[in-house]
Amino acid sequence: MPDTATMEKMAERLAEAKGEKKEFSGSEILLLSLLKEGVECVFGYPGGAVLPIYDSLYSGSLRHVLARHEQGAIHAADGYARATGRAGVVIATSGPGATNLVTGIANAQMDSIPLVCITGNVAQSLIGTDAFQEADIMGITMPITKHSYFVSDVNDIPRVVKEAFHIATTGRPGPVLIDIPKDVSNAKAPFHYPETVSIRGYQPHCDPHPIQVQRLHQAVREAKKPVILAGGGVVTAGAEEELIAFAEQARIPVTTTLMGLGGFSGEHPLWLGMPGMHGTYAANHALLECDLLIGIGARFDDRVTMGRLDKFATGAKIVHIDIDPAEIGKNVDTFIPIVGDVRKVLQAANRGVPCSQSEEWLQQTAEWKKRYPLKFQDSEESVKPQWVIRHLYETTHGKAIVTTDVGQHQMWVAQYFQFAKPRSFISSGGLGAMGFGFPSALGAQLARPDETVICVTGDGGFQMTNQELAVAALMNIPVKTVIINNRCLGMVRQWQEVFYQERYSEVDLTASPDYVKLAEAYGVKGFRAKTKEEVVQVWKEAMSHPGPVVLDIWVTPEENVYPMVAPGSGLDEMIMGDEKQ
């Protein structure tokens, strides 16, 4: 939340704009439009083509976070969006500023995160001439945005902003780009913000078809071995309570995808864990043997099905609930398609949902959970990464927002931190973009200042965006960064060990900076731990320190993520990791 002084300035600004005849510059209109949308904080980086926009920001009526790289800015905006469900806003200049956003835009598109990305462009008289810092960012990002606008007339700005927020946040959310050439942000016009929005080609489906809900009831009634596969759509729709009610009434166990973690409490007895490549035995075998599979806001991607559809839920009727009709039938054949907002669908489904015939099946899944829990070989001499994650979980009682980077540590967080609440696990799922963890934690913490925000990252990933330490220090954003330091690109090393006969090619990170000194150079507190006692100690200190902290935790480098399903194998071919003994 902005402070009171900023709020007053915002209100003043909007009041001023009421003077009907007054004219404003395009950049002022943009700012006023953002205020109208209730935007409290934007992330960005200035440059030539956005000079007019930054000049408007100078008044201080909108909080701006100056990242140290546009990728940092957009991941922070993304973290802000994931932590709140509201659109994150990022501003970048033309050319290199805009192209630096590309990874972040793709990331948001893959995970259906609402972002409004504002880029400056060169003046329209120069467009198409390869002018200095010109890039066709609209063309570049066409495949990775939900929609995009090039604003050629200053009078269009309010409508475009209104539409952009509407499109970004409704239906299946996603990133929307607004490209504004410099002459348009300089041009003058009066400010009229539209009250409503109507876009002929954009009418997201919301309410489910009653007949399909009846068919779902029938299928549940008949099912002996049902399972729910809950994905990110549950989190997006805020349907966690409805999902618990549905699962409990119908007596159906639940597995949550990486994006769905927290959408169904990891502490609930019906939870089976995460499925797929690094999923639990219980979750994968439930998917293999079920007779009814209810996919809810999940897209059956290859990290869950392993791309082996011939082996995936072969004996099951598949029910697919999703707000995006294009997801239904894309990867798996669907017996009952239900298009709609997941929350609304579950609300409808919960009226009169029957109990399935799952008694024996629930015993079976519980037995699997007991017999094949996640496990690792703990050690007293060295620090095991899994132990670190469990320690974080136990000491916070799970009451924290955890962001991750990409790699082994990400999977260990997914496995060993049992997320009980939606929007508490923030991770680059679809794109798997290293560099996401740290800046997204900053965004999440700014959005939810009262929560504990932990960034669990790898020594590889942290180095992709660690320049944002400057932001953490300057704004005193108290994110606790935990580097799971294995001195290598762990996940790649694991694949080279398992699939490439231990030919470790370019994964050695021993020549890395001293992360404690690096943190200190930015004015951030740094700690190092190489034993379990030290971990316990420095974590305590980190948690009691009111500002940002970086923990450099040295773990055993040869640890692998298990269970594991090799690419090309079916979910029935799990490598449990204890085969050698």
């Binding site: 939900k146 929609h147 002929r200 080609g201 954009y202």
Partner: protein
């Protein structure tokens, strides 16, 4: 199977790029695309000829629908429809064979639209197969250049006399 898809889109800059980009990115193949005005000001009609099984066609149509600038998607292969293409072809034709070529062209209700010292240009419209047949007959004379518009199509009225 070959499908003809009619897509009503906003007449906006880049709309063709959006559609083509989507089809390419999703690995849907395109035989032809034609775009032009529609009956409604501000909207264009795109006619896309593509190949694929039922599942693929369902994806094509659903993914097209997700584009904000797409208003309506219709698979014309599911309804009676009229599909036509325009062909312009420049055939090698010295004075001695001009008459012969005119004779070939006539039954196709095609016409000669330009004559030069060594060539003549034939214009034909119709279904793809008819144009293919005409081309086969013209090929022995030597085809110097040709251009085809790709298919454009409309669904037939429900109660109609087929022409």
């Amino acid at each position: 199977m070959r499908h003809i898809i009619s897509v009503l889109v906003n007449d906006q800059p880049r709309v063709l790029a959006r559609v083509a980009n989507l089809l390419g990115r999703r690995n849907f193949n395109i035989e032809s695309i034609s775009v032009g005005e529609s009956e409604e000001p501000g909207l264009s009609r795109m006619v896309i000829v593509t190949n694929g099984d039922e599942r693929m066609m369902e994806q094509v149509s659903k993914q097209l629908h997700k584009l904000v600038d797409v208003i309506k998607v219709q698979d014309l292969s599911e309804h009676p429809s009229v599909a036509r293409e325009l062909l312009l072809v420049k055939v090698e034709a010295g004075p001695s064979v001009r008459h012969e070529i005119s004779g070939i062209v006539e039954p196709f209700r095609a016409s000669v639209v330009d004559v030069g010292p060594h060539s003549m240009m034939v214009q034909a419209t119709g279904e793809r197969s008819k144009l293919d047949a005409l081309l086969e007959l013209l090929r022995p004379y030597g085809i110097k250049e040709m251009a085809r518009t790709g298919v454009t199509a409309l669904s037939r009225s429900v109660a109609r006399a087929g022409v």
